[in-house]
C-alpha cells in the first residue's frame, strides 16, 4: 500500500538545498519529498522507482539534510575506552563494489557544491588495510559498503561505537539483494544493527517488484506471533513505457527462424545493423557461452569496424574495468558502440549514452527483462528502446509473451526466501566473534529478521550446537568446541584462531573451484617457466573435460589448452576450427512461471497468432493439423515411434531444472514398470523421453495409465533415493559446508604452502548422509536443492495441478512442436546415475575386444 506523497508545503528544503536545486534547474520530485517526510517522521520506507527517477538522491537527501543541520549532527561521545568519537550516521549497502564507489562519487558533487561538512567514504574488499583500520576509530558520516563488509564490521570489537549512533541504513537494489543467501545474511546483520541502534531507520531502494509489501517487511523488525510489520512504501511514477520489438525477417525468405539452439547466429547481421543505429548498445545474453559466441560472430561480420567489447564474470577484473570505463565514455571517442554482456551488467552504474538494449535469446522472466531494458536511456520521459532477438521458435513465443507482460506492467520477481540454516550458522559464529552472547537474546534478535521469522527455538539450538561442536549425535568433539557456554551463561569463542578463520571465510558467495587462465607462448615443446598474462578465470571442472591440444573459445579468442600448473590453466593462442564452447553452471535461469503461463495462453489462442512471424504461425498451424495444441490447465503428452524406439514428449512448461528432475524421476519409474527407458532430454518448455518399448501403445492400454506414471508419489521414495546420489546435491552440499564454516574456502596461495587443510566435500557428504541423515547441514542442502537446482517445489505444484488433466496424443510420427526438443538429443551431458552403467559398458567393451569375443 502506498502512502500519499507529502506535498511540497509540508516538506521545506533547507535554504542551501533549495538554492542548489534551483541552480541546476531541478525541482524536488514528489517521491523525493515523500522520502524526506518519512525521514522526518522517523519511518522506515521502501522506495520503488524506475531508473532515471533520481532514486539515489531520494535515498540520501534525508541524510544530507540532517547532517547539514548543526543541531542534529552526531555528537562526539565518550566510549568505553575513554576516547571521544562519533559514529556512522548513514550506512549505505550496495550489492556491487563498483556501485558503492560510483554512488559515493556522485554524492561528492552536491556536498562540495553546497559546502556541506559531511564526510563520505567507501569500504570494500579493495580498500587498503590502513584505511579500513582508521575507519574503525574515525568513521565517516556516511559509509558506503557491501554486505560482506557489514558482517565484518559487526563482528569487530568497535561495532557498538561505530553503529551505536547510526540513524539510517540505505539498501540499494534491494530487490536483487534479497533473492540470495546474501540477502539472508544481510537481514541478520540488519537485525544486529537494530539491536545496536534501536531507533535505526531502514530505507530500501528497489526496482518494481511483484510483491512490494514483502520487501517492505524485510526492512523492519518482526515481532513474534504478531501480524507482519511493514515499512511504508513510496512509489515513484513509472517512466515512459518501453519501446520493445522482436527481430523478425523482413520477408520470409530472408532467413529461417531456427527450430532449436540458443545462439541466434542467423540474426547477427541484423544485430550489427541495429548496433549501427544506436549511440551505444548493450547486447544482453543469458550465459557466458552465448556471450563468447555472439561476440565472436559479431566481429566476424563487423565490416564497419564498430567498437564492440565483451563483458562477463570470467574475464579478468582489470579487463572488465577497462570495458566499463569505455562504456562510461559512451559513443564518443574512446567509447564503445556496443558491449556483449551477461548478468554482470544487469545492475550497476548508469551509462548515459546507452540508448538501445538488444536481448539475444529467451527473456526468461518479465521483471528480469524489464530490468535489463531499463539499462537503456536514463531519462524518465523518453521510452527505453529494446530489440528482442529470439534464437528459436519457442523463444519467439516467449519474447511475444514478455512484450505482453511488459505492456501489462506484470512482474514475476521471486518471493523472499526463507532464511538458510548454513547462513545462520555463519552469523551465529560471527556474533560470538563480536562479543559473548546469550542464546535467548540472540534467538529473539534473529527471529525479528523477516527470512528467519519462522525459525523455531529447536532449530536455532541445533544451529548453535552445530557451530559449537558440529552438531553430531556422536558427541566426540566437545573438547574441540569452537564456541563454549561459560559459567555466566554466555557463549564465547574458544580461541582467537576461531575468529580469524571466521573472518577469512565470511560471506555467502561460493565460487566453483577456479583456475586462472594464463596465456603462454604458442610454441610447442616445453612450457615456459614464466607465464604470460592472465586472461581471466574459469571453473576447474571445465578443464577436467579438456585434453591438452583441445581448443576453446574464451574472451573472444580461440585458445589451445596446454596444461595445468598449480592453480593456473596454461593456454596458447590457436588457429582453431571448431573450438569447444565452455559450458558454465551459472546464469541458467529457468523460464518464469508467469511467462510460461503466457506462452501457454498464446499457444492455445490462434486469434493471438497474428502478432507472430509468419514462419512461427505456420509452424503452429501445422501442429494443429498434425497433432493438437496444449491447452491451459492440461498436461499434453505426445507419443510416437521413431527409428525402432518409442518417444514421449511432455509439454510441461515448467523450466529446465524442474524438467530435469522430472526426467530423472520418470525414467526411474518407467524402468520399474518395464518400459525400458533409454534416455531423456529437456529444455525450458518440454521433456522428451525415449524407450526401447512402444510407449504410445502402453499408455493407450493404460499399462501404465499416465495418471499412474505422473502420480505425485514420485516425489517420495524415488526422489529420496535419487537425491542421495545426485551430483547436484553434492555440489549444493559443498556450498552449504563452506558457508556454514564446516570446511574452509580455498584461499589462493595458502594451499600451496600447505597452511590450508583440504578435504573433498563429496566424501564428507557420503559419510554424513549414511551416519546422520537428519544433520542440520543435510537439511540445509536439501532445502537449497529443492528450491534451486532441482526446482522440486515447482514440479510438485505441477504434478498436483495436472492430476486427471493429462491428455495423451498418440501419433504415428513426430509432431512439429516436438521437433525442437528432439533436436536437443545428443547435446546433453550425462546425468550422474548413468555413470556407473557407462563405466561398465566401456570396460566390458575393452575386455570383449581384447579377448576377441
Amino acid at each position: 500500500m502506498s502512502t500519499p506523497f507529502a506535498t511540497p508545503t509540508e516538506i521545506v528544503l533547507p535554504e542551501r538545498f533549495a538554492t542548489w536545486f534551483a541552480a541546476r534547474g531541478w525541482q524536488l520530485r514528489p517521491h523525493q519529498a515523500a522520502m524526506l517526510g518519512k525521514a522526518r517522521d522517523g519511518r522506515s520506507a521502501l522506495l520503488i522507482a524506475p531508473t532515471g527517477a533520481g532514486k539515489t538522491l531520494a535515498g540520501f537527501l534525508p541524510s544530507l539534510v540532517e547532517l547539514a543541520d548543526p543541531a542534529k549532527r552526531p555528537k562526539m561521545a565518550l566510549t568505553g575506552r575513554g576516547v571521544r568519537r562519533k559514529g556512522i550516521h548513514t550506512l549505505y549497502v550496495s550489492p556491487l563494489k563498483a556501485l558503492a564507489v560510483d554512488v559515493a562519487r556522485n554524492l561528492e558533487a552536491p556536498i562540495a557544491e553546497m559546502g556541506l561538512e559531511i564526510t563520505v567514504e567507501t569500504r570494500t574488499g579493495d580498500t587498503p588495510a590502513h584505511k579500513r583500520q582508521r575507519q574503525k576509530y574515525a568513521p565517516p558520516d556516511i559509509l558506503m559498503t557491501t554486505p560482506e563488509q557489514v558482517a565484518l564490521l559487526l563482528a569487530s570489537a568497535e561495532a557498538p561505537d561505530l553503529f551505536g549512533a547510526l540513524k539510517r541504513v540505505v539498501f540499494d537494489e534491494l530487490h536483487s539483494l534479497v533473492t540470495s543467501k546474501r540477502g539472508d545474511l544481510l537481514a541478520l546483520d540488519l537485525a544486529r544493527l537494530r539491536r545496536l541502534a534501536p531507533d535505526l531507520v531502514a530505507v530500501g531502494l528497489s526496482a518494481t517488484v511483484k510483491d512490494p509489501n514483502e520487501l517492505a517487511a524485510w526492512l523492519v523488525a518482526q515481532a513474534p506471533s504478531a501480524d507482519r510489520a511493514e515499512a511504508d512504501i513510496v512509489t515513484a511514477p513509472p517512466g515512459a513505457p518501453p519501446d520493445i520489438r522482436i527481430l523478425e525477417p523482413t520477408d520470409p525468405d530472408e532467413w529461417r527462424i531456427p527450430w532449436a539452439g540458443h545462439l541466434a547466429v542467423h540474426a547477427m547481421p541484423a544485430v550489427i545493423a541495429a548496433i549501427a543505429t544506436a549511440k551505444t548498445a548493450i547486447v544482453f545474453v543469458n550465459t557466458r557461452a552465448q556471450a563468447e559466441l555472439v561476440f565472436q560472430e559479431l566481429w566476424r561480420i563487423n565490416e564497419a569496424n564498430l567498437r564492440i567489447a565483451l563483458h562477463h564474470g570470467s574475464l579478468d577484473v582489470a579487463q572488465r574495468r577497462r570495458v566499463e570505463a569505455a562504456m562510461a565514455a559512451g559513443g564518443g571517442p574512446g567509447g564503445l558502440d556496443a558491449v556483449v554482456a551477461t548478468s554482470t551488467l544487469d545492475l550497476g552504474i548508469d551509462w548515459g549514452d546507452v540508448d538501445l538494449v538488444i536481448h539475444v535469446g529467451a527473456p526468461k522472466g518479465a521483471s528480469r527483462l524489464a530490468q535489463r531494458i531499463g539499462r537503456a536511456n536514463h531519462r524518465l520521459d523518453e521510452p527505453s528502446r529494446a530489440l528482442l532477438v529470439p534464437a528459436n521458435r519457442f523463444e519467439v513465443l516467449e519474447c511475444e509473451a514478455a512484450i505482453e507482460a511488459a505492456a501489462a506492467g506484470a512482474q514475476d520477481t521471486p518471493p523472499i526466501r526463507s532464511g538458510a540454516l548454513d547462513v545462520l550458522a555463519q552469523h551465529v559464529l560471527g556474533c560470538a566473534v563480536a562479543a559473548p552472547f546469550r542464546d535467548d537474546d540472540l534467538y529473539a534478535e534473529i527471529i525479528s529478521a523477516l527470512p528467519y521469522r519462522d525459525l523455531t527455538r529447536v532449530g536455532f539450538d541445533r544451529v548453535v550446537d552445530f557451530v559449537a561442536t558440529g552438531g553430531y549425535a556422536l558427541k566426540s568433539y566437545e573438547r574441540y568446541a569452537r564456541i563454549r557456554r561459560t559459567r555466566d551463561g554466555t557463549w564465547r569463542v574458544a580461541n582467537p584462531q576461531v575468529a580469524q578463520t571466521w573472518r577469512l571465510n565470511v560471506g555467502t558467495i561460493v565460487e566453483m573451484p577456479m583456475l586462472k587462465v594464463r596465456l603462454v607462448s604458442g610454441l610447442s615443446g616445453p612450457v615456459a617457466k614464466m607465464g604470460g598474462r592472465i586472461l581471466g578465470e574459469m571453473e576447474e571442472y571445465f578443464f577436467e573435460t579438456l585434453t591438452p591440444g583441445d581448443t576453446f573459445l574464451f574472451g573472444g579468442e580461440v585458445l589451445r589448452f596446454v596444461g595445468i600448473r598449480e592453480t593456473e590453466a596454461l593456454v596458447a593462442r590457436a588457429r582453431g576450427k571448431d573450438p569447444r564452447i565452455p559450458s558454465y553452471w551459472g546464469g541458467k535461469f529457468p523460464l518464469s512461471t508467469h511467462l510460461a503461463e503466457r506462452v501457454r495462453g498464446l499457444l492455445a489462442d490462434p486469434a493471438s497468432w497474428k502478432a507472430l512471424p509468419t514462419q512461427v504461425r505456420e509452424w503452429l498451424e501445422l501442429q494443429r493439423l498434425h497433432s493438437r495444441l496444449p491447452r491451459p490447465g492440461e498436461l499434453m503428452i505426445e507419443t510416437f515411434p521413431r527409428g525402432g524406439r518409442g518417444y514421449m514428449v511432455v509439454y510441461a512448461f515448467e523450466g529446465r531444472p524442474a524438467h530435469q528432475t522430472l526426467g530423472m524421476l520418470l525414467t526411474r519409474r518407467m524402468e520399474r514398470m518395464g518400459l525400458r527407458p533409454l534416455g531423456f532430454v529437456c529444455n525450458d518448455y518440454a521433456l522428451g523421453v525415449w524407450a526401447a518399448t512402444d510407449l504410445g501403445g502402453a499408455f493407450a492400454r493404460r499399462r501404465p495409465s499416465l495418471d499412474e506414471l505422473f502420480d505425485e508419489d514420485m516425489l517420495g521414495d524415488d526422489l529420496e533415493s535419487w537425491l542421495d546420489d545426485s551430483a547436484l546435491l553434492k555440489r549444493t552440499f559443498r556450498n552449504c559446508a563452506i558457508i556454514a564454516g564446516l570446511v574452509e574456502r580455498r584461499h589462493p596461495g595458502k594451499e600451496k604452502s600447505g597452511r590450508q587443510m583440504t578435504i573433498a566435500t563429496d566424501l564428507v557428504w557420503d559419510v554424513l548422509r549414511t551416519h546422520q541423515p537428519d544433520h542440520v547441514l543435510i537439511e540445509a542442502t536439501r532445502a537449497d536443492a529443492a528450491a534451486g537446482l532441482l526446482d522440486i517445489r515447482r514440479l510438485a505444484s505441477m504434478l498436483a495441478r495436472v492430476k486427471a488433466h493429462i491428455t495423451h496424443v498418440r501419433l504415428s510420427r513426430i509432431s512439429p512442436l516436438a521437433v525442437p526438443i528432439m533436436l536437443e538429443i545428443g547435446r546433453e551431458s550425462v546425468p550422474g546415475s548413468a555413470e556407473e552403467e557407462m563405466l561398465r559398458e566401456a570396460a566390458d567393451d575393452l575386455i570383449a575386444e581384447a579377448t576377441g569375443r
Binding site: Y472, S476, V527, V562, L763, A834, A843, L846
Partner: protein, 249 residues
C-alpha cells in the same frame, strides 16, 4: 569360510611380476596365493584431526572405513592383513580413536597376522592398536612399502592415492583406482575421507612404463579395468612442470 567365497568379477585380476592379485571393489587388493589382504592409506581419524584444528568434519569416518574393511575381511577371511601406511591421518590419531572403534579393530585382528607398515602421516604414532609395526616388508617376490621407491620391482605401495579419469561413451568418469604396470602396483586410498590424485599428475611421473599401465577403477560391486590409452591425459605429462588434468581432490 574359504577363499573360494571370494567373488570374482570380469577384469579384476592384476599381474605383478609373476603373481596374480585381485582388485576388490572396496579398494583393497587380495593375494590369493598367500591369502593376504592389502589396504593402503586408511587415514583413520581424519575427521577428528580436522576438528581439533577448528573444522568439525563429521566424526564417522573411522567407523565407516572400519565397517567396509570388516565386511571384506568377513567375506574372504585372509590369514594376513597388511596396511601400507598412513593408517592414521596423524600421529595422535590412535589416541583419539574411540573405544568402540578400537575394539572393532582389535576384533578384526583376531586369528590373523596384522602388519602396519609405517607411513609419513603416522610415522610416530603412539597408542596401542595391535599388530606388528614395520618399515617395509617382503613376502616372496613382493615388497610392501608406503612410498613407491624409484627403480624397485615387485613392490606394492600406497601414499599417492591414485585416481583416474577415463573416457566413456558420453564424456569422462573419474574414480579412485589401482594403478599398476606389472612391476609396481599402487593401491587406492581406502579411508572414507581420503581423496584421490590423478595418475596423470606429476607425482606419478616416471613410476610406470606408460604403455604397460593398467588401472582398475572402483565401481559399485566390481572394478572396471582400463589400459593407459583410455586414461585422459596419461601420456601427456609435458615437461613435468604442468599437470595435464585439473583435479586435485
Amino acid at each position: 569360510m574359504t577363499p573360494a567365497t571370494l567373488l570374482r568379477t570380469p577384469g579384476d585380476a592384476i599381474r605383478l611380476l609373476d603373481e596374480e592379485l585381485v582388485a576388490l571393489s572396496c579398494g583393497a587388493a587380495f593375494w590369493p596365493a598367500t591369502r593376504t589382504l592389502i589396504v593402503a592409506d586408511l587415514h583413520f581419524e581424519k575427521g577428528s584431526s580436522f576438528a581439533r584444528r577448528g573444522a568439525p568434519i563429521p566424526p564417522y569416518d573411522t567407523a565407516a572405513t572400519l565397517a567396509r574393511l570388516a565386511a571384506t575381511i568377513t567375506a574372504i577371511d585372509p590369514v594376513r592383513v597388511i596396511s601400507l601406511g598412513d593408517a592414521f591421518h596423524d600421529s595422535a590419531g590412535p589416541e583419539r580413536m574411540s573405544e568402540q572403534d578400537r575394539d572393532r579393530l582389535m576384533r578384526l585382528q583376531a586369528g590373523r597376522e596384522w602388519i602396519w607398515i609405517a607411513g609419513n602421516h603416522d610415522a610416530d604414532a603412539v597408542g596401542d592398536v595391535g599388530g606388528v609395526r614395520v618399515e617395509e616388508l617382503s613376502v616372496g617376490p613382493l615388497t610392501f612399502r608406503h612410498e613407491p621407491k624409484r627403480g624397485a620391482r615387485g613392490e606394492i605401495c600406497g601414499h599417492l592415492h591414485p585416481a583416474a579419469r577415463v573416457r566413456v561413451s558420453a564424456g569422462t568418469v573419474r574414480r579412485h583406482c589401482f594403478a599398476g604396470d606389472g612391476a609396481r602396483l599402487i593401491l587406492p586410498a581406502y579411508g572414507a575421507y581420503a581423496g584421490g590424485l590423478d595418475v596423470a599428475s606429476r607425482a606419478f611421473a616416471g613410476l610406470f612404463e606408460v604403455h604397460r599401465l593398467v588401472v582398475h577403477l572402483i565401481g559399485e560391486g566390481r572394478v572396471h579395468r582400463f589400459p593407459a590409452g583410455s586414461i585422459v591425459g596419461a601420456r601427456v605429462n609435458l615437461d613435468g612442470t604442468a599437470r595435464p588434468r585439473a583435479t586435485r581432490s
